[in-house]
Symmetry: D2
């Protein structure tokens, strides 16, 4: 909402919440006081469909798959922020998540990473907005994998996320005193974003691949930093790879490739739709380290969703996304 | 720069720094990479004056008073973020700061708090942009003082600021491990913003007044919360005072008066030009508690400076300041 | 438990929890792994009474008043960390809290602030361990009030607490992203510690008094800093008051009076039973500012409870409390 | 000093500082007020040698190598917290650090990791106290390497450290606003702890090995978490490896091996000499993930130094180190 309200080309017609229905949005989010007068409507897809052209679905997996068909049947376009349509292989989806109730729509859904699927997104009815961790990892690896410069089976993604990644749910592990001044890994080797990463890495690599993915929790509000390791297929210098990344992402508005010697910091992308990428070749071990940083709530979620909306609507892709990173 | 760059009606023609002259801005502030190609120019007022119509001066007190005459003589308008032209009484200035070298300009300077001095600012050549603490305290007290509802001599301002208020200078007290997980008062009763607060409180109260001001350091990046205490001149309820604040600030774009029962949080104004104000009458002691929250870097500095520039230029006052608070 | 386990003169015989009964303590608090093998027992006062000589009650108000009589009837001594026996006036208790079910025990209970009630505590069966905010405020004011140096009706206590003060309960307002990078006041003028502060200030002042108390939330784990304002009854210098505080607290093991010019920081008492107190006279307004800092979980709760236990048991008062502040 | 002062078997006879000579320690570290009356003495090895039996050297590399011979010649024992005597191969030392001025003492120095070199430490005159990162990584890998369960060339250590690791020096990158709400890697593949890690991994593996080591900065005061990846030499379950770690570290007082399914958190070791280790086998990729957590200032520095001192003095190894982790 923060990103849509200031726009003159878009109108927010309804905001829904089962929990807060009939409550003013600014009661729940006091920072939006005087900015919006919206009141949360009940989350009834049939009703909402009549009010809008495009729907952003930000409901848990399992629920999205029930709402999406309603909106599509009503002729609406949907950008789904859940995991329900991200995995092309329904068996893999059901292994990691739950039984799928609208598997027929999976093949039609477009994986909403504009840097890789821009043209398909323009024509999509249903966009599966990527997960926050996969966004940071796939953008970090795409140039290397596209050119076959890294051994796919060697890839390890050691990711670190701010606490907003866990949402606003009441759980002990999200309490201030549990998180603050701490740092830990969680779901090492078993996080649900793993198959999503593997799917896209596999497509880029042209073969099936297993990726080792370890998420960690940083005691900050926003930001994901992924440190990605891979064995190089041939000797390459940092400068050569940096150059190649610059080429690969040359016309991308939201990718910033760091110069040799510079590594990204989540603080430099906070509040923006940027993805910063830094490279370091470790010649002693023949490996490359790729480090990518995004704001998990913007490029990792809402900002990317709006980028997708812009593409679907034929509006300039960066409309409403000239968000200056907020530092400090 | 973050706030000016995205604008189409304003052009940033020069950015200066003695320390970083000839260095790319984005080298020093990596979050601005791909956003600006500016290179820091040397801070030579004579040269800079020829490049622009309006100057934002963000140099220490003592230096501003030397640069301002150069810019004014060259026919430029100046918004000075230092303390050099805030105090109308040069003796008080010299008691709290240093010898003044251009005291003749003091009477002409307009105190840049648009909510109180809007019309004067429109016609000013020289605007003295208020201090961050005074902004939060004066906006918090103005309605009460204007109507004579509070005993001026009873006022105590207990303020708390994020660490960015100290700037980016290398000092032990700004190191992460010195500040983090700590909380302390500093310069209790002796902070240089005291005479600035007293000047404006005195003008509003119509008489000289001493204010007790205690600043504290919060281990956060941005934000000032001022908790202001005063003895009421007559019995009033919280609701009555809240209503009066709503009236007083009715047409102000950047003031949000909280409903009864709600108190402000610096997190709700982060990254925005908003000033949130909450009220609570303590009927047991006959005192009123006014709590105001601003982002010290926006409404407390750069945002207010741009608000003043908009007024000077005859542009709509909120141009470029539709900054959505960033939460979380 | 952290503070009792390493001691050789004390044995922890039972630890209770209804929620976690039969669960290993170190499952719930992983930092205690390898340090204790205790398993949470159910919280059944009758059963527990037979296992121990002294009971620390850390249950909500309302529950303590039901358990205390059981322990006392069994001949045990009780240190109650709830508010149930802190207020001598049952009407005031019932106005701010709930109906009291064992009011007959109130007069017998000793307010467990050793610096003021040391001798009574030695002989007590029931100690009402003080609230965290009142501890910081009463220790800050006691010397001034004892000597009548400050006008009691002028007292304002502006306190700031770390998040652990809210306990480990699941509530939205304790979530990391709600608290982090924020700062706010809460329950201004209406916090339940107000009558407790007033009771003790009144005793020291020798007359009934209303105190204005405003708590705030700091985004840190531990620590309370209280900034206390009062009007002086006569002209006094900071040095004079500092000297007097040194005298007053001369033999106290856990009070550190700061030298003139130094103000306390919660970071300097973290993890310890210390209370640091700094003084500043504002001669311009005739007021004194007293700033006190404690660790809310130690001197504000468990440490003070153990100090009381030591007194009750006739053990040296600082046994097990030589806790070095942890900085950084 | 915090850890030595409370002990009755040890006396701190001198504390030195060139910068703060003749200043009270508690002026520089206010948390030690009332705890020590020591005044910083000038750092003159000849003078200091006459005052003590054992010296802890906490000076930069390059300086230690000049002071150590003085103390040894005077018949004192030295625990050196710098890197000067950690690397057995002087060429490697000089490649990563500076020219060595007392290389003859290197072979005599014992690497002060008690879990691996306990007996040698007991008889040492000179102990090279390990680096903080190497401590966490070597303790995490020792059981696997000792048994040859992991391919040494496959090891990647992705480490994350709190800010106190950078010391108290004035540098821009340690300022609160530069670090807070940020997260970044630094010196990827080029940190000076790399050869130290490789030396010890090589000894355990029985062959030379290159290790890829990437440190990151966490916006917290204390703590290192190392996430270590390695390819298993044969199929093993998490349970099997956890069991083996339990065996390997069975009698170690400061190692806590997490049960299967539990991963360590730096918050659980804060303020203590503990090293927590968690294990997870990723059967899909044939790799093991070992995660270790220490307090970089205790087990990563001062605590380990005292553990070494206890061994040298023939005192029980855990004397003065029963430090309860401080949580929250």
């Amino acid at each position: 909402m923060r990103l849509l309200i200031p726009r003159s080309d878009i109108e927010v017609t309804a905001v829904t919440s089962r929990k807060y229905k009939d409550v003013k949005v600014s009661k729940v989010y006091p920072h939006l006081e005087k900015i919006t007068n919206h009141v949360f409507a009940d989350a009834l897809p049939e009703k909402i469909a009549s009010l809008c052209d495009i729907v952003f679905l930000a409901v848990p997996h399992g629920e999205a798959m029930r709402a999406v068909p309603v909106f599509l049947d009503a002729g609406k376009k949907v950008i789904d922020l859940s995991a329900d349509y991200r995995l092309k292989n329904v068996d893999i989806y059901e292994k990691w998540y739950v039984k799928h109730t609208s598997p027929n729509l999976i093949s039609e859904a477009v994986y909403g990473l504009p840097e890789l699927y821009r043209e398909n997104i323009r024509n999509a009815r249903l966009v599966a907005n990527p997960g926050c961790y996969p966004t940071s990892i796939i953008l970090g690896l795409a140039p290397l994998l596209t050119r076959g410069l890294v051994e796919p089976a060697s890839i390890i993604a050691d990711s670190k996320s701010g606490v907003s990644g866990a949402g606003r749910e009441l759980q002990m592990s999200s309490l201030f005193c549990e998180v603050n001044e701490g740092f830990k890994a969680y779901k090492a080797g078993s996080h649900r974003h793993t198959p999503e990463i593997e799917q896209e890495v596999g497509i880029l690599a042209g073969k099936d691949v297993s990726v080792l993915f370890t998420p960690h929790l940083i005691p900050i509000d926003r930001g994901i930093l992924s440190t990605i390791y891979g064995t190089l297929q041939k000797r390459l210098t940092t400068a050569e790879i940096v150059n190649y990344y610059h080429e690969f992402y040359e016309s991308e508005p939201f990718i910033r490739v760091c110069e040799e010697g510079v590594l990204p910091n989540v603080a430099s992308v906070r509040g923006s739709n940027m993805c910063d990428i830094g490279i370091k070749v470790d010649e002693r071990t023949g490996r490359v380290i790729v480090i990518s940083a995004i704001d998990n709530l913007i490029k990792g979620a809402a900002g990317q969703a709006i980028q997708n909306m812009n593409l679907i609507c034929g509006i300039p892709e960066n409309s409403g996304l000239h968000l200056m990173p907020l530092f400090p």
